[in-house]
Every structure is written in structure tokens, then in C-alpha cells.
């Protein structure tokens, strides 16, 4: 006891005795600092990211059919992996729920689809047609009359804008390159006679506009989006990070689409407004300046040149008003609205905030900021499993986001769709419905489906990709190749029962656990249940289900651990050399102790304890500094500079947590590194002969 006390006393007093100790201590200090900070950072990113993935779509565990040709990859937004369908979710749900640690199971089908919507002229004509139809149906109210006049004026204005465009074109390009028929059509549409005779035969005039003029506007758009087809109610209950931003939740059991807020802002918002938002954010939140940031300069340039969308949307009355307010705002006498808008959008750091405010206050209320509004019904197209294009009209109920992941393109890339619509788009027909359709076929005299064509029929088509025509599940919906009409329509609007939702095809299911720390064990239990019941399920962790993203994290981790390992080895070698040198400097002291009667063991302990104490005290300083740094980072958060990082930080900032794990890890590594690196010098020290005590000082 007293011997150990003596050794510690010698060790403490030798702490600052040699310059070499400062070298060793310095390395250990830096090492532990790095370890604590890096370890905390990594574990924080790890847990933040696991929150991002488990909390947004994946859940803790995903199960899918083991007949799948490829691996499930939830976040590979455009290329959907080849996943075999699980034909009946209701068969696997109770089995999964029977596992102890499973809290909920959410059915899923991750797929891609696209949505088309007409250009501004299409939309305005559509409104005009509806109003004209109402009048034809007998509505004579002054309000309708006024609306028709206003819409007619808007269409005329759009034609004027198109005409202006064509004038510019003819100046720039040779006249031959423009189809004279187009020019003649525009001339006709812009003429006073055309509009004077409009009311006499409104439908014919509308037809002319729709067929001849609307196609000249190129801003019709096709938007691709990825979505998760799921039991929306169960999804909302299980993923509590989800929150509705605009509009409302799809009613229980109903069909409908919830667009991701991120997608809504990026794809559906008026480009000019979206750019203004982004510039505002960069200036206001990120402290950037237009003057120094080329990306922001580009956005300003685009806003200046791309004013057409706004021009088209403004009806004549709004155009006049905007011209006037802009003239006042810019103190300009310019009469051309296009020129005024270009001047207005020529923003710089000094005037941006003011103009941003003006835009939202004065211009935005006059136009449609978003191409789709919550409540709109949109035709959605997708390739079915067998290659057909399916089209389903879906009501967009609103937009949603995952709390803390508002800015993340990865978590925000997915929209949410009800499971029934997903099944229609996916083109999978349940055996029950198959039987029902066969019955119908029999009734209508259609011959029985041949046995070898059953699968193709099951997937809603018999032809290979591309050769099939477009099939619409709408008023005249076809399902499984059979006309349904009235039945289908009824199917669209009624709410579905839980059983109906559960009894059908899914691609995967998210499993939410009661205790996520027991994930590995629960996965094994799920596998066992699947095997026992012959469910044929593949069970993967969220890391794996995240696809490339999960792999990326794995690689990042591996790289970091490798770096730590290299630092360890380097530290080991340097410390080993330094301790060796320090020991050789003390040969006479050690020899004296041996001569006085100290055993080899004593010398071994002496060197080990001294190095260990050196490591622990400098390590403590390093840990302290590291902890302070981590606390500071935890307090202020590390800003996620790019939207990509939002996902990894699970929010706009990473609030680093001082993991007790990294402290323990640092402690263990110090002990390990110092003892390993001091072991060899300590053994060498025991070989010092007591004779060496006799050698005189040099």
C-alpha cells in the first residue's frame, strides 16, 4: 500500500520533470480532445440521423418480400428498386405485432409517379369554360357575367403577352423559322372581331383557343415525385414527427395525397417566389450577401429575366394595379409592366428585404403562388408493375413536413399517398377483385382469363412496357382490364375500412419498436416469426432500408474510426519512443533503486504508473477542453450549411450531446494507449542492472 503510494508520489512529482513528458502529454491531450469531440459529434450525427430516418419514413425495422430481386432502398428517390409485392398485408400484420417489442406496423409502398398540369392559359380557359357552361345551363346572375368578362380579359391579356413574345422572336430569328399558321392563329386570337363574336358562340371560340393557342405556351409541366403509399392514419400515429403544414389531413380511410412541403415549395411554387424565399433565407438566416455569393446573383438574374409567369397570371385589372404600385414604389414613369418587373427584381443587398416584403404584400395576392392548391384534384400517372401507364385522379388534401427536417431534401423528398390509390397506381389486383372481375367478364360475355395470363391480368395489363395504351381509373375506369364505371366511382369516394386497407398488396412494412435499443434481437424474433408462419419476409434495419444513404453513413463512420485508429497507432509509436527516451535518461536512478533492493516488478510499476498518470492527467485536461468545446457546440449548435446536412443533423443545427460513451471511450483509450506504449520501455527498464548505479555521473 505504502509502496503504491510512493510510486504514485514519484509519478506525480515526475509529471513535469522532463520536457519529454510535455511531448507525451501534448499528444495525449490532443488525442483525447479529438476523441471526445469527434466521438460526441459522430454519436450525435448518428442519433440525429437515426431520428431522421426512423422518424420520417423508415421506422426502426422494415420488412419486405424475400422474393425481391433487389434490396429495399427507401431514399433512392428516382430509381425504385425491384421489390416483389407482399400480396396481403393483413396476413403479416398480426404476426409482426405478435413480437413483443413491436409497437406498430405501418404498411408501405414506395413508388414514383408524375403529375401534369396545364399552363396558365389552359387553367384560365378551363375556368372560362366552366363559367360559360354555367351560363348555358341557365345562370344569369350578374356576378357570373362579371366573372366571364374578367376571364375573357385575362385570356386576351395572355394572348397579348404571347403576341409580344412572337414579335420579339421575329426580330431575333428569321421569319421562316416561325410557322405562319401559328402567327395567323395568334393574330386571330388577338383581333377585336374574335372577342366581339365570342359570346355568340363561346364554345367554338374556346375550342379554338384550347387547340390552337394554348399549345403555343410552353409552360405546361410534368412533375415527377416519389411517394409512400401507406395507411395514412396509421402512418400519422406512428411517425409523430409528421405535421400538416397547409390544408388538412386526408380524412380517415379516405383517398388522397399529401404533398411534402419541401416538394411543394421546390416544385409547385412560382419559381420567382421560391427564389425570393431562398435569397431571403440566405441573407436573413445564413448571413450571406448577394454581392459576394454567385449563387444568389444567379437567382437575382433569373428573377429579372423570368417575369413572364407573373405577367401571364395577372389579369388586365391586376396588371394595371401592379403597374401603378410599381411605378410608385420604383418612382418610375415606365408604363411597360414587364420592364417594371425586371427593374423591380433587380435586387441587391440594400433593397432586397424591402422588395421581398413588397412582393408578398402587393403582387403575391394577385397571382397564384402555387400551381396546386390544397383541395385540387390532380391526375396522377404511374407505370404499373407490368408496364402500363395508370392514371388516377387524386385529391391533394394538403402538405406536410417532418418536424426538424423541414429543409431536408432527402427526408422531404417523399410525399404521402393513401394505400388504395397506391394499389391502383401499382396496378396490383387482389385475388378477390380478380374473382369479381372474372364474374363481371362472364356476365358481359368476356372469355375467361387463361391460366398463363393470370399474372399479367393480376397486374392490370397483358402487354409489355410501352405497347399498352393509357388506362384511366376515373369515371370510365378500367380495373384489371374490365370496365367498372359506376362501381369504380363509388369506390373512389367512400372511406375504406381498416380491413380493406389492410387486406391488400404492400411493398414493405415499417415496424416501430417499443424499445429501439433492442433492435437486433427484435429483428431476429421477427425473422423467426416469419419463418414459422411461412411469411417469406426479409427483415432489415433502418440503416439498411435507407439504402445508399445508410451505406454512406456506414462509410463515413468507417472512415472516422479508421482515422481514429491511425491517430492511435501514431500516438502509440510516438509515446512509445518518448517513454523509451525518458527511461534511458533515468538508467542511473533505476539502477540505484535496484541496488537498494527494489525488485524488477517495482521498476515495471514505476514506469507504467508514471506514464499512466501522465496520460490520465493530460487526458483529463484534454477531456475537459473537449467537453467544454462540445458543450459550447451543444449550446450553439453547428449550423447545417447545406440542405443535404439537414438530414444528417436532423434539423437546421446539430446540437452535439456530450455522450457519456465518448468520455468512457476516451478514458479507456488513454489507459490502453499509455499502457501499451509504456509496456516495452517498462520491460526494458526492468533490465537495467544495479551495476549501472555505480557508474559515475558524466
Amino acid at each position: 500500500m505504502s509502496e503504491l503510494f510512493l510510486l504514485i508520489q514519484i509519478a506525480i512529482r515526475n509529471l513535469f520533470a522532463s520536457f519529454l513528458n510535455f511531448v507525451i502529454g501534448g499528444i495525449i491531450l490532443m488525442g483525447t480532445l479529438l476523441f471526445v469531440v469527434g466521438g460526441s459529434l459522430l454519436s450525435s450525427v448518428d442519433s440525429a440521423m437515426s431520428k431522421s430516418i426512423t422518424g420520417s419514413i423508415a421506422g426502426h425495422v422494415q420488412v419486405y418480400s424475400d422474393k425481391s430481386k433487389e434490396e429495399l432502398s427507401l431514399f433512392s428517390n428516382w430509381t425504385m428498386p425491384d421489390i416483389a409485392a407482399v400480396p396481403d398485408f393483413s396476413k403479416i400484420k398480426p404476426a409482426l405485432l405478435s413480437v413483443d417489442n413491436v409497437k406498430t406496423v405501418v404498411p408501405m409502398g414506395v413508388e414514383g409517379a408524375n403529375m401534369t398540369y396545364g399552363n396558365t392559359l389552359d387553367q384560365t380557359l378551363d375556368k372560362l369554360r366552366k363559367a360559360v357552361n354555367a351560363r348555358l345551363a341557365g345562370d344569369r346572375s350578374p356576378a357570373l357575367n362579371e366573372r366571364i368578362v374578367s376571364l375573357k380579359d385575362h385570356v386576351r391579356r395572355i394572348v397579348t403577352v404571347i403576341q409580344e413574345d412572337y414579335k420579339k422572336l421575329t426580330v431575333m430569328a428569321s421569319t421562316q423559322s416561325i410557322d405562319p399558321q401559328e402567327l395567323r392563329a395568334i393574330e386571330k386570337a388577338a383581333s377585336a372581331e374574335f372577342w366581339n363574336s365570342f359570346d355568340a358562340d363561346a364554345l367554338a371560340h374556346l375550342e379554338f383557343m384550347e387547340n390552337k393557342i394554348a399549345p403555343l405556351l410552353p409552360d405546361a409541366d410534368l412533375i415527377f415525385f416519389s411517394y409512400v403509399g401507406t395507411d395514412l392514419d396509421s402512418f400519422r400515429g406512428s411517425f409523430d414527427r409528421m405535421e400538416i403544414v397547409d390544408g388538412q389531413m386526408v380524412p380517415p380511410g379516405g383517398r388522397g395525397l399529401l404533398l411534402s412541403k419541401y416538394v411543394y415549395e421546390n416544385q409547385f411554387k412560382l419559381k420567382t417566389a421560391h427564389r425570393l424565399d431562398k435569397i431571403y433565407e440566405a441573407l436573413h438566416d445564413e448571413g450571406k450577401t448577394i454581392a459576394s455569393d454567385p449563387d444568389l446573383q444567379l437567382m437575382v438574374k433569373q428573377n429579372r429575366s423570368q417575369t413572364r409567369e407573373i405577367l401571364l397570371q395577372l389579369d388586365p385589372l391586376s396588371s394595371q394595379r401592379t403597374t401603378k404600385t410599381l411605378q410608385g414604389f420604383l418612382k418610375s414613369s415606365e408604363n411597360d409592366l414587364a420592364t417594371l418587373l425586371t427593374t423591380f427584381f433587380d435586387t441587391n443587398d440594400a433593397n432586397f428585404i424591402e422588395r421581398h416584403g413588397f412582393f408578398y404584400k402587393e403582387i403575391a395576392p394577385l397571382i397564384e403562388l402555387y400551381r396546386i392548391r390544397p383541395g385540387d384534384t390532380m391526375p396522377i400517372n404511374a407505370f404499373t408493375k407490368s408496364g402500363y401507364i395508370q392514371s388516377v385522379n387524386v385529391k391533394v388534401y394538403g402538405t406536410f413536413q417532418f418536424k426538424g427536417l423541414e429543409k431536408s431534401g432527402l427526408a422531404g423528398g417523399m410525399s404521402l399517398m393513401d394505400l388504395m390509390t397506391f394499389r391502383d397506381l401499382y396496378g396490383y389486383v387482389t385475388p378477390e377483385r380478380m374473382a369479381e372481375s372474372n364474374q363481371l367478364k362472364k356476365n358481359t360475355g368476356v372469355k375467361f382469363v387463361e391460366r398463363d395470363r393470370a399474372e399479367a391480368e393480376l397486374f392490370g395489363g397483358s402487354s409489355v412496357v410501352g405497347t399498352g395504351g393509357e388506362k384511366k381509373i376515373d369515371d370510365q375506369a378500367e380495373m384489371g382490364g374490365v370496365k367498372y364505371s359506376a362501381t369504380a366511382r363509388a369506390l373512389m369516394n367512400r372511406p375504406y375500412s381498416r380491413d380493406e386497407i389492410d387486406q391488400g398488396v404492400v411493398l414493405s412494412a415499417a415496424v416501430i419498436l417499443k424499445d429501439p435499443s433492442k433492435m437486433e434481437q427484435t429483428m431476429r424474433e421477427i425473422e423467426a416469426v416469419s419463418k414459422k408462419n411461412g411469411l417469406g419476409l426479409r427483415v432489415v434495419s433502418w440503416q439498411k432500408a435507407a439504402g445508399q444513404l445508410g451505406q454512406f453513413v456506414f462509410i463515413a463512420k468507417a472512415v472516422l474510426y479508421f482515422a481514429v485508429f491511425i491517430i492511435f497507432v501514431v500516438a502509440l509509436v510516438i509515446i512509445n519512443n518518448a517513454v523509451m527516451m525518458a527511461t534511458l535518461q533515468r538508467v542511473r536512478e533505476i539502477g540505484t533503486m535496484r541496488a537498494l533492493g527494489a525488485q524488477k516488478r517495482f521498476v515495471l510499476k514505476l514506469v507504467l504508473i508514471e506514464t499512466l498518470l501522465l496520460g490520465l492527467s493530460f487526458g483529463a485536461v484534454g477531456t475537459l477542453l473537449g467537453s467544454i468545446l462540445v458543450k459550447w457546440m451543444g449550446h450553439n449548435g453547428i449550423p447545417a450549411g447545406s440542405e443535404f446536412l439537414y438530414f444528417f443533423f436532423s434539423g437546421p443545427r446539430l446540437y452535439v450531446d456530450l455522450g457519456i460513451g465518448s468520455l468512457i471511450g476516451a478514458f479507456i483509450s488513454i489507459c490502453l494507449v499509455t499502457s501499451i506504449s509504456a509496456l516495452y520501455p517498462a520491460i526494458i527498464a526492468t533490465r537495467v542492472s544495479p551495476v549501472q548505479a555505480m557508474h559515475a555521473e558524466d
Binding site: 505504502s2 509502496e3 510512493l6 508520489q9 514519484i10 512529482r13 515526475n14 520533470a17 542511473r588 536512478e589 540505484t592 533503486m593 535496484r594 541496488a595 537498494l596 533492493g597 527494489a598 525488485q599 524488477k600 517495482f602 542492472s689 544495479p690 551495476v691 548505479a693 555505480m694 559515475a696 555521473e697
Partner: protein
């Protein structure tokens, strides 16, 4: 007055001992067939020119080195039969060392340096240790320096601390290889006087080597060496002759 009892069984007994060092191809004979017997409480000086084998002899007696041939018996134990571990134990309990360069542990205080062998021994409690250390420090006149570090002392003072350290375990033998070589001759003589005083109080056997004739004069007996052999066993032989005559 004789202070050595040669008739009692010898504390050091060296029989036909040779020591050779091998330097590459050449073999350097350091000791050649030496015989020596030292009785308890003797105060002996080993003298001889450089290279005569003084240090080698002291190292063999001190159990820090082993003989090439012959027997070295210390306190009744034949060192040939002892393991490295047992040799260390023997040093700890039976032998005290005083070094030419004092060899105090620089980070320990005077008190702690003297206490050091006692801590290795693990025999005494802290109160007893304290008493024994302070006792010795008083005897060597450094009680008031107990808390000082070696670097704060003069060479003579350091060697006194070393003497206290050598005696603290109450060893049977204290060995000192040129203990005065790093001191001026006045201080050196004082150190030898202190050693002699201790030899008389504690009855400890002292064997020391020196070049200094003045220092040598303080010894009760002198062993002279040359070329690895004992050439004269001065007063001791006279003394034994006296005893023979008396008998």
C-alpha cells in the same frame, strides 16, 4: 581497541574468486583467484591503482554482479545458489550502499530518500519508519533538512543523506565505492569520520574503496589490490598476528 571480531564467523567470505569480463574477442581478467574474509563490524578500506579491481570486488560483495568462478558468501548465504530475486532481497535486508555520485532520487525529499528502503522492506509502520529516519537524520546532522530536496543540498550533505539511507534498514554490511571522490578532501574526511562513527554506534561492517591516502588513513584496516589480486591485507594481518602472539 579492536572493534573487529575476526574470531566470529565472517560476514563476507570470498573463496578462490575470479572475475573476467569479455569484451568482444578479448577476455579481461578483473579479479584473479581472490580470497578474503571480513568479520562483523569491521571498517575496511580497499586501496589500489585504477583498474586494480576494487569496484569489481565491491560489486561482488554487494550482490549486484556475480563471480566467474569461486564462492562469494554473504551473511552465510552462498550467492551462487541465489536467484536474481533472492539476491535483490539480500541487498534490501543485508547490504547498504553509498555511491560515489550520491544517487539520491531527485524528486524525493531528504526524508523520503532515507525512508525509501524501508518502504521497499514493508516491515515497519509509518510511525516507526518516521522515528527511525529522523533518528538517523539527527545522527548525520540533517534533521532540519528533512523536507529539502537533494538539489538544495551541498555534495557533503547529500552524501550524509546517502549514509543515512544506507543505514536505515540496519544492514549488516555497508559498501561504499569511492564515497569521497566527488567531494573536496576536507569534506571527504568528515564523511569517512561519520562512517566510522556509525560503524562504532551501529556495529555495522563498512567496506569502502578510495584513492585518497588521507581518507585511507582513517580506516582500521586496508586491503591493497593490484592487477586483480590482493597484495596486502595490512593491519588485519598484523592484528591477527598480534592475536596469534597473544594466544
Amino acid at each position: 581497541m579492536p572493534n573487529a571480531d575476526t574470531s566470529a564467523s565472517p560476514i563476507v567470505s570470498i573463496v578462490n574468486v575470479s572475475k573476467e569480463y569479455t569484451l568482444g574477442e578479448t577476455v579481461v581478467p578483473a579479479l584473479r583467484d581472490i580470497n578474503l574474509s571480513v568479520a562483523p563490524s569491521e571498517f575496511i578500506s580497499i586501496a589500489g591503482p585504477s583498474g586494480s579491481g576494487k569496484t569489481t570486488l565491491l560489486n561482488l560483495i554487494g550482490c549486484v554482479d556475480t563471480a566467474t568462478t569461486g564462492q562469494v558468501i554473504i551473511a552465510g548465504q552462498d550467492t551462487r545458489n541465489l536467484s536474481e530475486r533472492q539476491l535483490t532481497e539480500l541487498r534490501l535486508h543485508t547490504i547498504g550502499f553509498i555511491f560515489q555520485s550520491f544517487n539520491l532520487v531527485p524528486v524525493l525529499s531528504v526524508f523520503e530518500n532515507v525512508e525509501f528502503p524501508l518502504l521497499l522492506q514493508r516491515k515497519l509502520g509509518s510511525a516507526e519508519r518516521k522515528q527511525r529516519v529522523m533518528d538517523l537524520l539527527t545522527k548525520v546532522g540533517l534533521a532540519d533538512r528533512a523536507k529539502h530536496r537533494p538539489s538544495e543540498l551541498s555534495g557533503g550533505q547529500r552524501q550524509r543523506v546517502a549514509i543515512a539511507r544506507a543505514l536505515v534498514t540496519r544492514p549488516k554490511i555497508v559498501l561504499a565505492d569511492e564515497p569521497t571522490a566527488n567531494l573536496d578532501s576536507k569534506t571527504g574526511e568528515n564523511i569517512i569520520d561519520l562512517m566510522k562513527e556509525m560503524n562504532q554506534i551501529e556495529k555495522t561492517t563498512f567496506i569502502f574503496s578510495t584513492h585518497d591516502a588521507k581518507v585511507m588513513a582513517h580506516a582500521n584496516s586496508i586491503i591493497r589490490m593490484a592487477d586483480g589480486k590482493i597484495v596486502e591485507d595490512a593491519k588485519r594481518s598484523t592484528k591477527s598476528r598480534d592475536q596469534e602472539i597473544r594466544a
